[in-house]
């Protein structure tokens, strides 16, 4: 049995019936990692010993009759989530040797649910990027074609699940960093509404935009993960006191009575040839499932990129001010106070991080704050109001996730703005705080394409319902994944 290819719900059934043990399952995943990750490079830190210890604990819980859906399930964590006692690097030199003294709330929730942590995954440094090429350590490769990027910034988490090196993983999404890599890697990736999941223990990038969410192999697993993650947290004052529904109830299979809006502004000129037809084909399948499809407009979509690239860097410039070599992290070690600040941060941060800190500092500086930052906050009001308006007449929106499929490593590094364009369809959801999911809907040139479903804030169930119905319809059946092991044998 190829245990590493199981989904959470399949593995859970076998674990609860005691047909397999948690240690067997974790060992299979760790074996898979040892064979395949030298090619994919999804992991910064492999947690072999801790994983086995957690699996043994899971087996004790299973033997005692614990039937929780995540007991014994091997999960990977984006290396921007604090796990006490293990390195948490943000894929940055400035935190290369940082070991957090506490775990993030989402990490504690998964631990309490009996999950097993198999490793910390690679990302664009401090979650800033769309390809994982800005990791200070190494890039991650797309399991569907190793010459291509997995997307970003949660590229490692997406690739780990796509390559069966974890049954699920956690990522973070500030401008698309879960949904875009999910689309490029052919897995399900969910960005919850802002305030749905605690950010406590997430190394902050942009505090009004960041959300943590799961990568899974199917929508059923996604609902299981969201159930464990969602909810108010006294440690994060930006979490909402909105009750968490039973997400499994959303997995119905048909869409009668559901009204889906197709925002015309998302079908931009820059869409790769074939992308529009593929997404519209998926939308037609949703109609066959009983949904009413209507054309809608979000006129300010074209301002989302500029709005995001002012607000996010501005917030980042404040959040990354703490990396100063005083309480933790890299220190240049020169005797003068201010020189040490400058050299520590100059050497510790990579180019993209420095670019964003600079843009943010500029946008907030005297003489420019009104023109840039305040204008962007007003644009945010307009963009959010347009979503609120459109959701008065639609239950959810359907659209592309990314204008393009996975692109070659190195292709977009010479012009930062080209990289930013990867996120034009995903940024609006972060700006407005709504929920968004990417579900696989096709293959173009042998590379995965995702369908995006956006739902109103705290309506994750609606997004899950649409994604599940689509997945179960059979409109798209994923092809067999590339035999990564074979390419190892050839190489």
């Amino acid at each position: 049995m190829t245990l590493h290819t199981l989904t959470i719900h399949e593995a859970g059934d076998l674990l609860r019936s005691r047909d397999i043990s948690a240690v067997e399952l974790t060992t299979a995943v760790l074996d898979r990692m040892s064979v395949v990750d030298d090619l994919v490079r999804a992991y910064i830190t492999r947690l072999e010993d801790r994983a086995i210890a957690m699996a043994e604990e899971a087996d004790r819980r299973l033997a005692a009759g614990d039937d929780g859906p995540l007991v014994g399930i091997p999960i990977a964590l984006k290396d921007v989530l604090c796990l006490a006692g293990e390195p948490t690097t943000a894929a940055s030199r400035i935190l290369e040797h940082f070991v957090p003294p506490y775990s993030a709330t989402v990490v504690k929730r998964l631990e309490a649910a009996g999950a097993v942590f198999v490793g910390k995954t690679n990302l664009d440094e401090f979650a800033m990027g769309s390809s994982t090429e800005h990791s200070a350590f190494f890039p991650t490769h797309n399991p569907w074609n190793l010459d291509m990027v997995p997307g970003g910034s949660s590229g490692g988490s997406a690739a780990a699940v796509a390559a069966d090196m974890a049954l699920a993983s956690l990522g973070s999404d500030t401008g698309g960093s879960i949904r875009q890599p999910a689309s490029l890697c052919g897995v399900v990736g969910f960005k919850p509404s802002y305030g749905r999941v605690s950010r406590y223990g997430l190394l902050a990038f942009a505090s009004s935009l960041d959300q943590i969410g799961p990568f899974t192999k199917d929508v059923t697993d996604c609902a299981i993960m969201l159930q464990a993650l969602a909810g108010h947290d006294p440690m994060d004052s930006t979490t909402a006191r909105v009750p968490v529904p039973n997400y499994a109830e959303a997995l119905q299979g048909d869409l009668r009575g559901v009204r889906l809006g197709v925002p015309k502004e998302y079908f931009v000129e820059g869409l790769q040839p074939g992308m529009e037809d593929m997404v519209r084909g998926a939308i037609a399948a949703l109609r066959d499932l009983g949904a009413e499809i209507v054309d809608v407009s979000l006129p300010s979509t074209r301002y989302a990129l500029a709005t995001y690239y002012i607000i996010a860097p501005a917030e980042a410039s404040a959040n990354l001010a703490r990396y100063d070599g005083i309480k933790y992290g890299y220190s240049a070690g020169v005797p003068s106070m201010w020189e040490n600040y400058n050299l520590t941060r100059g050497a510790g941060f990579g180019d993209e991080v420095k670019r964003r800190i600079m843009i943010g500092t500029y946008a907030l500086s005297e003489g420019y704050a009104d023109q840039y930052y305040r204008q962007a906050q007003k644009a945010r009001t307009i963009i959010k109001a347009e979503f609120d308006e459109v959701f008065r007449t639609c239950d959810a929106l359907v659209s592309p996730v990314s204008p393009i499929v996975a692109f070659p490593l190195g292709q977009k590094l010479s012009d930062p703005y080209q990289m930013y364009l990867c996120d034009i369809c995903t940024l609006p959801a972060n700006i407005a705080g709504v929920a968004g999911v990417s579900v696989p809907c096709g293959m173009l040139e042998g590379l995965p394409v995702g369908l995006q479903v956006q739902a109103p804030a705290f309506s994750e169930s609606v997004a899950l319902r649409v994604a599940y119905a689509f997945e179960q319809s059979g409109h798209f059946v994923a092809p067999a994944k590339p035999e990564l092991v074979a390419s190892l044998a050839e190489g």
Binding site: H97, F98, V99, P101, Y102, Y194, G195, S208, S237, T238, A240, S300, Y303, L305, A306, T307, Y309, I310, S317, D324, G325, I326, K327, Y328, G329, Y330, S331, G333, S336, M337, W338, N340, Y341, N342, L343, R345, G346, F349, D351, K354, R355, I357, M358, I359, T361, Y362, Y372, R374, Q375, Q377, K378, A379, R380, T381, I382, K384, P416, Y417, G433, A457
Partner: protein
């Protein structure tokens, strides 16, 4: 477009040491990015209020009750420079 002197000022504000080469590249790259971002000025926002956070949360407080905190050893474990139970820092004033 952004002047090289502005880039230097911003780098100083952000406490980022940039080499001559980096300063050159940053001036070009930031200039290009700012040009794209400047399109936001097209949006009419005269009667629009700013949104800093999408949730309608205000002054989220908790009871001022004592709770266990992180042990001092844990807090100091990552310190680049420590002395007894203190973070050792450089002189701010000479």
């Amino acid at each position: 477009m952004i002047a090289r002197s502005d880039v230097q000022k911003v780098a100083a504000l952000a406490r980022l040491e940039l080499s001559e080469d980096q300063l050159e590249r940053m001036t070009t790259e930031l200039g290009a990015i700012l040009e794209h971002i400047a399109t936001l000025s097209e949006l009419r926002t005269d009667h629009i209020g700013p949104t800093s956070q999408v949730l309608d949360l205000h002054n989220v407080l908790r009871e001022d009750s004592e709770r266990p905190s992180l042990p001092v050893e844990a807090v100091l474990a990552n310190a680049p420079d420590r002395e007894e139970d203190y973070f050792r820092v450089r002189a701010i004033l000479e």
